[in-house]
Amino acid sequence: MSAVDVAAATIPIGPTRRTRISSRFLRSELRIIFGRRRNQAGLAVLAVVPIIIAIAVRATVRRRGGGPDFFAAITGNGLFVALAALTIELTLFLPLAVAAIAGDAIAGEANLGTLRYLLTIPVGRTRLLAVKFLAITIFSFLATLLVTIVGAVMGLLLFGGGNMTLLSGSQISLSAGIARLLLTTVYLAAGFAALGAVGLFVSTLTEQPIAAMIAVVILNVAMFILDSLPQLDWLHPWLLTHWWTSFGDLFRDPIAWSGPVRGLLTAAGYALVFWLAAWARLGSKDITS
């Protein structure tokens, strides 16, 4: 190849190299995640839970014309449907959804063989892990937000939206209630994203995405079990899942920040440690898939 040809071949490469940060790969990643039927079905399941809660409570209230405090709270303000749905889904459904995405992140590409082609483009291994984790985080937020929005809309439709009665008994306006609900969504999503970082690491250990997903779900359940054993109370603050239920503190008056802040720090710690572990693992790995 002559010098002229070499120059011609490199012209489209020169000006763009390292001059901009493009979101193109991330957008492609999100298209793959949200375009996949399996994931769409999973999101549909997540969205069905608040609908069932809302309809079931509505039907019960009609028949009995009253009920326990929990139901009374819902009937007083529809936003509680979203909170009830998040509470129910945070133990298994939401972690499962995130585990499916995170487990697939590297193991799925290795299993298909597409990992070797991404790396020879070249996509640097660090960049690959950064984009994958960003996509997992975005999925976590959108999945949690989906439950919140469906719950809030169903609740407001079926029960209306007056003032919100807090756990401490005082009342806040509907808009203040919505703000705290969104804060809860962000808080829980951060926890799920941290679980996603664990999944990303596990995903670098295997070429079987299902195995990675199952491992993450088992870890999640194991943390809940350990958290329920009072003999291990010294361990509880170090468990990622221990802090998830602290979102209740966001509905006190005034907001009791210490629990949620500790929860966010724990999530950030898990995310950092496991992302670095994934980086150390993938960085030195021979890609033979």
């Binding site: 190849m1 002559s2 040809d5 070499v6 011609a8 071949a9 490199t10 489209p12 490469i13 763009t16 190299r17 390292r18 493009s22 193109r24 790969f25 957008r27 492609s28 793959i32 375009g35 996949r36 039927r37 298909l112 063989g113 597409t114 070797r116 082609y117 991404l118 790396l119 020879t120 483009i121 070249p122 996509v123 640097g124 030195s284 021979d286 890609i287 033979t288």
Partner: protein, 310 residues
Amino acid sequence: MTDAAVATFSLTKRFKRQTAVDSIDLVVPRGSVYGFLGPNGSGKTTTIRMLLGLVQPTSGRSELLGNPIPARARQTLPLVGALVEGPAFHPYLSGRANLERLDAADRDVDPRTAHMRIHAALDRVGLLAAAGKRYRAYSLGMRQRLAIAASLLSPRELLILDEPTNGLDPQGTREVRHLITSLAGDGATVLVSSHLLAEVEQMCTHLGVMHVGKLVAQGTIEAVRSTTRRVAGVETDRPQDAARVLTGLGLTDVKVEGHRAFATLGAVPVEKIVPALVHDGVPVLGFTVQAPSLEDMFVSLTGEGFDVSG
């Protein structure tokens, strides 16, 4: 730094129990079409994976386009198109969507030209008509074509193609051969691994032969061929006398079959044989020098070679 498109220096890879690649010194000159031959399991693919930075060598080093790999992979790989161990794509995406995905991951290309480049790559491998079909519905041949298209998404100086005609029908095989020849004509260097000897013979200028992890021969096709034995044959009505003359000249493995005498040429100059025969009064009715076919050569270098290497 060397001027070769691909150069390795005592490149070695040991997996737990076996040495997959054993201290090889590959040299692929710029502008060549280099046929990388070897039986299954001889270490071709592991070598290619090391060249592309997918696998870390146990010892030794390699250079692509004069740049050390993996140290300068980031700068070098954009100029290298690769097909490694068969096609691999997302099954539920169309062929075109799969190429868009790969292009999106490439930071060195202009997104504004993506559509045009993808179209051109699909066109070049004859896959435009099936571009919208899901990958899972593709035949093996179509998958192989898509993988070749993926390696052509941007201008390349070097193409590393591992078994590019695997699974293609004869028509497709011919098209790929023409494609490789035309890419080489555009100035690209092509390293193509294969176990199909006829194919390599038709399109390659250079050859490297792997056998149980070792590079047992390398050079231009002619040079590699001449390292193996050539056979001189004399057709005559006095074959016994001819055989005696051949032996006297220093040829080895002298045999007589009917009206012919054969012997391995070795270092004896071809042009001396016929005069010597005539001088001794042996009537020469015909004289041939047979270079072995590439297949004979391959077998002589690698053993029978049907069984996979260790």
